[in-house]
Symmetry: C4
Subunit: 216 residues, 4 copies
């Protein structure tokens, strides 16, 4: 890797560190949970991904690892285990940045909405590019797996092209956008929707959507 790539990785690392510190301050990255990525090159696909096992509130610009389109480290370092899923989301959606957080609202709501979470008639939906009125907007929920290929297949099968986010049941939230700032805004908007859902609907047994309201 030449020095200009080093520079690009360091710059991406600084952006990811700042974004991670923000999400950590919200309590969405407790322990060393969650990971963030940013596309540094489209062809060949390269992403800067946060390194594994670090406190997400304490990252520095040198805590990002460069990975290829399979999530493998290009120049050493130990990327998050989920780097492969980040790379797949970037390929699949064209996103320039991916955020993965472990939020309590995502896990609590998904446990009761295994077929996807339907939002409707909320101004906040405009924050993910949807209409504020008269449209069911489905946030897909997929089953968790430790196999990134399996998880990626599920995400690809379930994803809603009009919703830049997926919840992994028992795990957390993935959201993405054209760049780190838009990925941040999508993350915050979806988390807001999930917190509202949790505030409005008291816990109970898992619910499935009536058939005919299927996932896109």
């Amino acid at each position: 890797m030449d020095s200009s790539s080093d520079l690009a990785l360091t710059e991406a690392g600084a952006v990811l560190a700042a974004e991670a510190a923000r999400f950590a301050s919200f309590g969405w990255m407790r322990g060393t949970s969650g990971n963030l990525s940013m596309v540094t090159s489209r062809d060949p696909l390269r992403l800067a991904v946060t390194a594994s096992g670090l406190d997400k509130g304490e990252l520095t610009s040198s805590d990002a690892v460069l990975v290829d389109d399979s999530g493998a480290a290009v120049n050493g370092g130990r990327p998050s285990a989920e780097a492969a899923l980040h790379a797949r989301i970037a390929r699949l959606t064209g996103a320039g940045a991916v955020v993965h957080v472990h939020s309590i609202a995502a896990v609590a709501v998904a446990r009761r909405r295994l077929d996807g979470i339907v939002f409707r008639d909320l101004e906040m939906l405009k924050g993910v590019g949807r209409a504020a009125h008269h449209e069911d907007v489905v946030l897909p929920v997929i089953e968790n797996s430790q196999d990134m290929a399996v998880l990626g297949d599920r995400l690809e099968a379930a994803r809603n092209p009009l919703m830049p986010a997926v919840v992994v049941a028992g795990h957390g939230l993935y959201a993405w956008g054209a760049d780190p700032r838009q990925a941040r805004h999508h993350t915050e908007v979806v988390e807001w929707l999930l917190e509202l859902e949790l505030a409005e609907h008291p816990p109970g047994p898992p619910r499935h959507r009536p058939s005919g309201q299927g996932q896109p």
Copy 2:
């Protein structure tokens, strides 16, 4: 616009940026949601309004746009879509500053109190200029719309002259005051009342007030 107006706009922008950062830190302006304004001239009516599409925790003094009494930009820039409603509230109520936030409590409570939210016997009501005892105080709830003229008509029809705030269902809270600091305090007091309501009354189907308890 002469340079003194530029200065006034920059000064207003600095105030709005500080206020917005405060509300953003409370989680009431997730994504790029919400907007704030401040009257810079009464005749003709001119307001500094936060620019559209920006992160409300990262505004600077140059991120305000000057609008007229219809919410149209006077000297360029892209005001929030809701600038027209800010201007109408300033005209209608004489307010010198308007705050619009997307808080979860406002949306969650309004969904179940479509005819308005009644508060009573709370010391905190003095924070919006009402009696702490023996008086029903109604916070109006209006239906959401993407048409600012429609939304403004609803606000004008529903508003309670003794309550410097209105909730837009499925959307968020508008509050206002003589100046940005008073608008802030009114926003915080109403949000506190909404959070108390949410804590005290568990979610359930929408409720309508018994007739005879009509909105002022």
Copy 3:
């Protein structure tokens, strides 16, 4: 007032400003709600009390007012309306500092526990000087009033000499201690107990304690 008194008032004002900023950061002093005081002289009784109508997160060392044992300003300034109650608590309990905050947990829990809130078998009770086991500890609840003499009579009648706090229904929490730091710790401990109570007992109609479990 000689210059050494001025100095004492400024020093007390700096302490109160720091304590108020702390409580404001917790969301317990929204709008301009709540007030704090600190005894500066015991004989004659003099207290520094936070000035009325200010944002409690923005106080400076010059925002305290000196009051006498009736809560009247000694050298000008506009003390909080509740200064008289602060002075009465200082007289009655010997406290050196009094904290009054508007917390949602205090108001939500008191609404359902009009005869007092009973805590038992909690380690946290040691933080207000009580046993962690085998003892009912009652936090008194009194009815609100705008008349500080009435409110003071109620507090005097209801107070539990072994609990340095009282909740005013529909209003907020008063807590006190030997000095501002102890008053802070008592405030935090009682607020913790109230938040636990709110988390453990879902809202419902007001409950009265069974007779025979009367307030001390």
Copy 4:
């Protein structure tokens, strides 16, 4: 104690002060509650423990006390009453750091799960070294006591060798790790699990686990 020990204690004190300030900012150390420790020598066992009665958000590097394997101060100072339990956990588990916090979620959840709290199928379990799938993970709950020998016996009898944490009913959470950072991450992960449990299961009467699902 020679000067190199003094230095080690001061260094440990600085680490404990930073960790304590973090937990205090989360509201898990209200009043003067909770305490932290760090092993400074394994043979003989010596721990730096936070001093008693101080505000955990305001500790400095000189606010740690050196204790021996019974929790007694080695060179003066007043350790937390629970120093003996910290020392016992360090002996029993080989931990290099122990965290004790008073969190509302720990107390609220433990009150209803007196036989232990069972987690399953949660990615976050990997943060305490367990499988994310297909395994019941038990967080033990023990009865509170003011006698540290009794409390230590209960902890020793109930502890799950595969879970670096125990909840003390009516009291709070103990968590530990190889060093202060790992102890922090274990604390945050377990607290996240407890907050999720509280969000998913509404309060009710105490529940006991069905027999056959016994604690390891």
